[in-house]
């Protein structure tokens, strides 16, 4: 393993506070979060909500980008399937993120850091519960050290140059 080793739970700083990005669809989850607010449902202040018109607007590339920039967790949330303001948007969200969630896990990202959830405009308590649980989970596993671009793991081009040179030589010898 390289020197920018991935921190394990044991190394988590005592006072680590994760930062979690929530992509919330305007019609359901954003309204659900508003409802949590008007109902004064308390949850830890570690989430930041980014409003999108529909969960289907969330490009998986946005999610990866957030991890690159060092976010500790990402939640993509929208209307329940069948309730989409745009009729079918969240069905696409579901397809895309069923795949991307698996791919992120495959890449070694802890699945606890990345969730997709359906939270309706009436589900203030669910919003509270989902983000609270997620914050606690991410707090337990510590800061994200993976995919981050500020930890410059640079490419060692020497090997590549050497191998290309070797190939060139073989060609030269044969011609």
């Amino acid at each position: 393993m390289s020197d920018n080793s991935v921190k394990t739970a044991n190394d988590v700083a005592e006072n680590f506070e994760p930062k979690i990005l929530v992509f919330a669809c305007n019609w359901c989850t954003y309204a659900g979060a508003d409802l949590a607010g008007t109902s004064r449902l308390q949850y830890p202040p570690n989430v930041r909500i980014l409003r999108v018109p529909c969960s289907c607007r969330v490009n998986p590339q946005f999610v990866i980008r957030a991890f690159q920039r060092g976010i500790d967790g990402v939640l993509v949330a929208g209307c329940h399937p069948g309730d989409c303001h745009y009729t079918t948007g969240n069905y696409y969200t579901r397809r895309r993120f069923l795949l991307i969630n698996r791919m992120m896990e495959y890449m070694g990202i802890d699945p606890k850091r990345f969730h997709t959830r359906w939270i309706s405009g009436a589900e203030g308590p669910k919003f509270q519960q989902v983000v609270t649980e997620m914050i606690e989970e991410v707090r337990a596993i510590g800061p994200n050290r993976k995919l981050r671009d500020d930890m410059k793991v640079t490419v060692n081009t020497d090997d590549i140059v050497a191998s290309v040179e070797a190939d060139t030589k073989v060609v030269a010898d044969n011609v």
Binding site: R65, Y92, M103, R117
Partner: protein
């Protein structure tokens, strides 16, 4: 797996030359794209032939792995009528390009060539001269060695040697602990030099303007580091998800030997198990899995 050893390359090669000659002489095609002998025995490279006199340049051997269909894009706005030789995977690539509206069937002549499976050129380079060269990785799992679409054809159909994809490599990674997975992929993507050879050769990566060439878009930086490289890797895999025709060219041309098909196969495996079996490029009507949905898709996000 023994197709390659009973398969008569020379006979098919003769047919190919005859076919090319006929097409060029009759004027049915203004150009024929095939393969020619490369600098090394295991490097057969594409060749564009415009004259019937040159047809003897054409060869057909176990190293004609390179997919020729993508070249058709270059001629879409010319008056040329281009004929290409196409193995099973090349015809799936052709369907991919037709479905993506990147080429027009009426401007192309597809000459189907049943393929016995190509050899692994990379291994060939490493092995001693007379050693037995194994089949290319993608070819090992090929289920469609015969052209799935063609205007003309040479040779006779071969029997597919594989009926099911082998996902054991994907499963091996899935079974790793998260940190090991990450370490594995980081070690792979630190090798990537972002030469974009994988993208350029890919029949599914056929955008006129790739987001990775749009530096002003804010999507990506030109920086070559593990983070950016992995962003590139995942994004490209996502872009071809459900559209990849599994020719394995990306992996073949990668100078850094990044196991790119391991990414593509992960998506293929998940698409099959989540949304039902899908084979890209078998026809031009079946919609790509990410361009439609089913209300009964698996629900995991409640």
């Amino acid at each position: 797996m023994s197709n390659a050893f009973v398969y008569n390359f020379d006979q098919v090669q003769n047919e190919m030359r005859a076919m090319a000659k006929e097409l060029l002489e009759s004027g049915e095609a203004t150009m024929v794209i095939g393969w020619e002998k490369g600098a090394l025995p295991y490097q057969s490279t594409p060749v564009m032939i415009r004259s019937a006199e040159d047809v003897d340049k054409l060869i057909w051997d176990a190293y004609c792995q390179q997919n020729l269909s993508t070249y058709l894009i270059d001629y879409i706005y010319t008056d040329e009528k281009v004929a290409i030789f196409a193995k099973g995977c090349d015809t799936r690539a052709y369907n991919r390009l037709i479905q993506d509206n990147r080429i027009k069937a009426e401007k192309c002549i597809v000459i189907g060539v049943p393929c016995p499976g190509m050899k692994n050129a990379r291994e060939a380079a490493r092995l001693p001269e007379n050693a037995e060269v194994p089949m290319a990785n993608a070819c090992k799992e090929c289920r469609y060695p015969n052209p799935v679409v063609f205007d003309k054809r040479v040779g006779t159909d071969v029997t597919a040697w594989c009926t099911e994809r082998d996902f054991s490599d994907v499963e091996a990674i899935e079974a790793m602990p998260a940190d090991d997975k990450y370490a594995f992929w980081q070690s792979q993507y630190t090798k990537c030099i972002r030469c974009y050879a994988c993208r350029n050769i890919c029949p599914a990566c056929n955008c006129t303007s790739c987001i990775f060439d749009q530096s002003a878009s804010g999507w990506c930086s030109k920086d070559i580091n593990a983070s950016e490289n992995q962003f590139y890797g995942v994004t490209r895999a996502f872009h071809v998800a459900g559209r990849c025709i599994e020719c394995g060219q990306c992996e073949m041309v990668c100078p850094s030997e990044v196991p790119i098909m391991l990414m593509n196969k992960k998506f293929i495996k998940d698409i099959d198990s989540l949304f039902g079996a899908h084979e890209a490029g078998l026809d031009t009507n079946t919609p790509a899995p990410l361009s439609h949905f089913s209300v009964s898709d698996p629900e995991e996000f409640m």
